[in-house]
Chain length 254, copies 2
């Protein structure tokens, strides 16, 4: 008898950004798996088992949840932001592909959520208001040369770029190197928006120019959006500036 | 006396994907502006004025809402999906920049939401599980040559690509032309996911290979995700296939 696995997007952090469908999927689960800090956001329910894991154990965590579901349980896997954006959904699919045939019979669903770049963009105005890319700067799972190639391609073609996983203790130099690449393709005045802990305690949103962006502090809880050459900053007296990328591109810009 | 304007993401369509923050912002508004079909999703409240507009009137609609807020009202502007992704937030920012100085004093907020590509990706598995781009195929606001250049750059650098506004009555050929460009950079077997009316009545999700993608029907209510060369399709007996893009890229792939 095969059970169910729901991979659930918890949004950026506040309860007000968890969708009703996500909350319902969590409430219906017999067991919940996930990275400890995300699991702590799930409201407690009597009789529901909790299985916190380390952040780097994605495939092991996915396998454990699939095994429980294959045994007949109703299981939820929590994910920060949206599960499909640099989060747990791909790890679960990968585990299904390479796991026992029975796992392909599990009732697997993904509950989407508000991913970090959308929460940050909302705070800033609309920096992703036109064509954009999302790139993870982690080189744990891909070569750094590929990250650089993608950054150059994206900025060169006029995309705004959202940077996930910009910095960690083990990866201290990647964000600065990414800014170096982007400066090769973009004006120094291009707006860069930093969002630390958006929709959580200690939220901080900072706007800088690309030329000075390397001096802005960033950590694992930071998402960074680098505008395109078209991105605008609108100053407002007594309020934070609005940063937005216009919806239209003039014929001459190509 | 200056009021407030909240630009509110309604998600892809079902009430279960509207965040509590978005619902609260709508409930608090004296007046709600937006494209008619999105406005119809807002629960009725006595005393709340509704101002439906045509879908093409984005700047006019933004100005009307800002004018009402500048007069002291608490105003909400509804947007499909996430307001920051090919939706109303950029139009509102643009109207602020080019409008009366008083509009810069309005308490402007954006409530993020689940944008179409995330809702579709969740249905399919995790096709956006690694670096990806979002591109609007509408050439109402930018030259088609630029769309083609961005498609080629994105696919050539190994991004999965989400296509917004793929087809409309006035733009019948753009999606086919986009597939032609993408076929120049990607294997014919690259998975393509079509989502029509995801999370609404009549939802249909279709998986095709890039070589045959032009034959799949698509319309204004469709979002399309084109995988990268690394994107996988996992067949499941009695269930729809899982489509996902692995989190890791081998050194040899660069």
């Amino acid at each position: 008898m095969s059970g169910r696995l729901a991979v659930v997007g918890m949004g950026p952090g506040s309860a007000g950004l968890v969708t009703p469908d996500a909350a319902a999927a969590l409430a219906a689960a017999d067991a919940v798996y996930g990275y400890g800090p995300y699991l702590d956001r799930v409201p407690a329910r009597a009789g529901q088992a909790r299985h916190p894991t380390d952040n780097r154990e994605e495939i092991g965590r996915a396998r454990a949840a699939l095994e429980a579901a294959a045994g007949g349980a109703s299981v939820a896997m929590v994910s920060g932001g949206d599960p499909g954006v640099f989060a747990m959904a791909a790890a679960v699919c990968e585990a299904v592909e390479h796991g026992p045939a029975a796992w392909r019979g599990i009732d697997l669903s993904v509950q989407p959520g508000v991913t970090a770049m959308l929460a940050l963009a909302a705070r800033a105005g609309a920096p992703l208001g036109h064509d954009f890319c999302a790139i993870s700067l982690s080189d744990n799972l891909k070569p750094w040369a590929l990250v650089e190639r993608r950054l150059a391609a994206a900025a060169g073609a006029g995309f705004a770029v959202a940077l996930y996983n910009p910095v960690s203790r083990a990866r201290p130099w990647q964000l600065r190197a990414a800014f170096d690449v982007l400066r090769g393709a973009l004006p120094g005045a291009t707006p860069v928006v930093f969002g630390r802990a958006v929709a959580r305690d200690g939220e901080a949103v900072t706007v800088a120019a690309l030329d000075g962006a390397a001096a802005v502090p960033a950590d694992m809880a930071t998402c960074v959006i680098v505008g395109s050459a078209a991105t605008r900053v609108v100053q407002r007296p007594g309020l934070p500036p609005l940063v937005y990328t216009p919806r239209s591109v003039a014929e001459s810009a190509t």
